[in-house]
Amino acid sequence: MHYVALAVVVLVLLVLGIFALPGRGAKAQQTPPPAATAPEPKPLAMCYDVSALPAASEYVCPKCGEKTDYKKPDRVIDAIPACRREVAAMKPLTKLRLTLDESACCAKCMPKSPGPSLSLDIHFLDGSKRTVRNVTHNDLKQLREFLAGKLSAEKFAKQSKSFAEAIPAINKALEAERKSLGLDQPAKKTKESPATNESLPKTPEGPRP
């Protein structure tokens, strides 16, 4: 009797299994292969695509030309190209000379640095210099918006702790700059925007030839 019951159960399971097969097949086709088979997106393109993914965050020092490897990912190191471009983008906005000090990132230039960090040196027109330490890409983005008249000093100070102390001096220098240009009235304030990537001017259709 037991054998008969077992045979019936097996038969029922088999039938259910067979009827379930087409459904499973269809599902399998819709299901993407396991994520493990998908290669990690490559941050850099290369025609031959032979470079294995960088297994470290690499920093090449602009002063000495040497390379320092960091564990991957590294928030500071990975943001350096963007920070450099921010500083370059500020040049047309002010007569203040702004330089990014990356020396703490270089194991050769500063072997005893506790870790990677960026500083911004602000060279005022009177020859004095102020260094703002531990600046991030976001800090620099806000400084650029501030210099462009898109962000008020108050809001800038509120949003960027690194720059909070330096803002009065920068503001004073900018006022002197405006006076020297015969622009005694403060620049017309444009509509303030949150300091996010989306707030930056975009050219959605890209640069035109």
Partner: protein, 365 residues
């Protein structure tokens, strides 16, 4: 816990070795700078076997962990097997991040062989198998293969993908996409995968080398670039496979996040992820670059070379990108293609230029 360390050298971790100027194909799209009609790229004497051995040993000692043999056609060098075996016998430092820590280990470099496939035989496939070499073969179309390469041979390349698979080798099908073969891209990718290629590598045609003669016929328009990516994504999705685009694209032209099967990058890796040693032993920032820098015996001088530094520091964004919100995550396409097309490293990528605006080649600076 090691969080950082001075790298074995300043060099990128991948070295591309152009073993010879010679080639047994005459590809319309060939971007090798020495194939430039204007003769603006000086062909010097090719390195000897011993000199290439020196290059391999030196690069491994400097922490170059990936070595790619190419040309020209590298299989035209009689000493290719000896050079591959020498490279495989070298030790180099592989730096890795494991569980949030920086670790390094010594071992042979990862090896790659990039060929047009015509001379690939069982001996080469066995060499690749023995020395763990990843083999890439070029397949620029099926019905347009002969028009592109000057030789009828798509079936031969497909047969070699199949043979490689039978021997347990993983291969890459390298497809340069032009205006002439875009219409058959779906079939080309499908044929390569069905034959046994493990991965697909697409490159959009870039002006340079012999290709400068055919820029009008081969250059993709912006909408054709998107068509290329969409086609590849669709075929790879159906096949359940993955691929990548070798040439960076401007972010304003392509939304890379749309592609799940195809890895599309907007950043350039010249002098950062890889560099090139040409047939005469002179370094360049990438394979497209028409600018020969220092000889391999003086590689250290690259650290102070302005051209090299411009690439390592990524100081090459076109002025037109000045206010673009994407300029912090984009290198505005291929910088050397822009250099060739406009005469300026910070010029516009050819995709952003009408073909008629491309500059005629001039001598190296």
């Amino acid at each position: 816990m090691i969080q950082r360390r001075l790298a074995p050298s300043f060099l990128p971790t991948t070295g591309v070795l152009e073993l010879t100027y010679r080639c047994n194909h005459r590809c319309l799209f060939c971007s090798c700078p020495w194939e430039n009609d204007a003769g603006t790229f000086a062909r010097r004497e090719e390195l000897s076997t011993d000199q290439w051995r020196d290059v391999l040993s030196k690069l491994c000692a400097m922490g170059v962990a990936n070595l790619a043999f190419t040309g020209g056609e590298p299989l035209l060098r009689d000493d290719l097997t000896a050079l591959v075996r020498h490279a495989a016998s070298c030790q180099t430092e592989h730096v890795e991040t494991i569980d949030g820590q920086l670790e390094s280990r010594f071992g042979p470099p990862r090896l790659y062989l990039l060929s047009n496939g015509r001379l690939v035989d069982d001996a080469i496939l066995t060499l690749c198998k023995q020395e763990n070499v990843q083999l890439s073969m070029s397949l620029p179309g099926l019905e347009t293969f002969e028009e592109h390469t000057g030789h009828d041979g798509a079936d031969g390349v497909l047969a070699r993908f199949a043979r490689a698979k039978a021997l347990g080798l993983e291969t890459v099908a390298n497809i340069t996409v032009t205006r002439l073969n875009l219409h058959e891209l779906d079939r080309t990718i499908s044929a390569a995968l069905l034959a046994g290629a493990h991965q697909i590598l697409l490159n959009r045609f870039l002006p340079g080398g012999r290709g400068l003669r055919h820029t009008d016929r081969l250059s993709l328009a912006r909408e054709q670039l998107v068509e290329m990516l969409d086609t590849a994504e669709r075929v790879l999705d159906v096949a359940g496979r993955f691929g990548s685009l070798g040439t960076e694209v401007p972010k304003c032209l392509v939304d890379a996040s749309r592609y799940k099967r195809l890895s599309v990058s907007t950043r350039c890796s010249a002098a950062v992820g890889f560099f090139v040693i040409g047939p005469s032993g002179h370094a360049r920032v990438c394979n497209h670059s028409p600018v020969q820098l220092t000889h391999f015996s003086e590689l250290e001088s690259l650290k102070t070379n302005d051209y090299w530094r411009r690439f390592t520091q990524k100081q090459y964004l076109p002025e037109a990108c000045g206010e673009c919100g994407e300029r912090f995550a984009c290198d505005a396409g291929c910088r050397e293609a822009a250099h060739i097309a406009t005469g300026q490293v910070d010029g516009l990528d050819p995709l952003l230029l009408p073909v008629s605006a491309h500059k005629k080649p001039s001598r190296d600076p």
